[in-house]
């Protein structure tokens, strides 16, 4: 009989990008880890920090430029998934806002919370939210700029210390 692999007990997720669809996967996976009884933390760095800043966390956008897979969103407009979406169209003012609005609607229908609510749900579930010190310094941010769910601002070294025994996932 083959040996059962050891179950995952702890995950540390890293978010380094700040579009709406860059942030959700880590929140879904982190929250999902808590739901399965694993320890979970999410470390936000560089543009990912936008999801934690009180002034910006509600206005993350879907990037409609430079994404050759935008055709995936076509079924939301009742169009075929194979229909291309040229990147130039994505640059027209308002298109990113529209795509964001559409995506948020779709998420609400699927019972997916908004970013601030999701962060609250994740921390209520016992997950931890960290912000990257270096990126904070670079963007001239202080802890006061960040939402209440952030438990600490960490250096890279501290992040690794806290991630002892964890699977580290860069999203």
């Amino acid at each position: 009989m083959s040996e059962q692999p050891e179950p995952i007990k702890k995950v540390s997720l890293i978010v380094s990008k700040g579009s709406l669809v860059d942030v959700y996967p880590a929140l879904v996976m982190g929250n999902g880890a808590r739901m399965e009884g694993m320890e979970a933390s999410i470390f936000f760095t560089f543009f990912g920090l936008g999801a934690l800043i009180k002034k910006t966390q509600n206005s993350l956008k879907v990037a409609t430029v430079g994404n050759p897979a935008m055709n995936m969103a076509m079924p939301m407009l009742k169009m075929p998934i194979t229909m291309p979406f040229p990147t130039l169209l994505g640059a027209i003012p308002g298109v990113s806002n529209f795509a964001t609005w559409m995506m948020k609607n779709e998420m609400e229908n699927l019972d997916i919370p908004t970013i601030p609510e999701f962060l609250e749900m994740f921390t209520d579930a016992g997950g931890e939210v960290f912000a990257c010190k270096l990126a904070m310094d670079m963007f001239k941010l202080t802890k006061d700029d960040l939402c209440d769910q952030v438990s600490s601002v960490l250096t890279v070294g501290e992040f690794y210390e806290r991630s002892a025994g964890a699977s580290i996932i860069f999203t």
């Binding site: 879904v28 999902g32 808590r34 019972d111 749900m121 209520d124 579930a125």
Partner: protein, 105 residues
Amino acid sequence: MTTKELAGTSVDVDAEGFLTDHTIWNLDLAAAIAREEGIDPLTDRHVEVLNFMRKEFEENGTAPSIRKMNKLNIVPTKELYALFPGGPAKKAAKIAGLGKPQGCI
């Protein structure tokens, strides 16, 4: 599907121990499953949550999400995790005699 002895009766469960027929559920079965999941005793507060989940299941065909139970003020997320430590959605559904939750959130 296997048969299992729970609270003095034999019941059908799936490979992960979820009841295959939610209609046979009763509080004795719930307490027996809870004990297996490390929750002992099953308090009135647990039962309130379980009853809500079963009601939702009967109305909508699926167990409610953690978010929904929080939003409807049935049980705050923090408390739910404290009541059913180590995997609230799955454990609560199991103790409520419902199938394994299919949602990701």
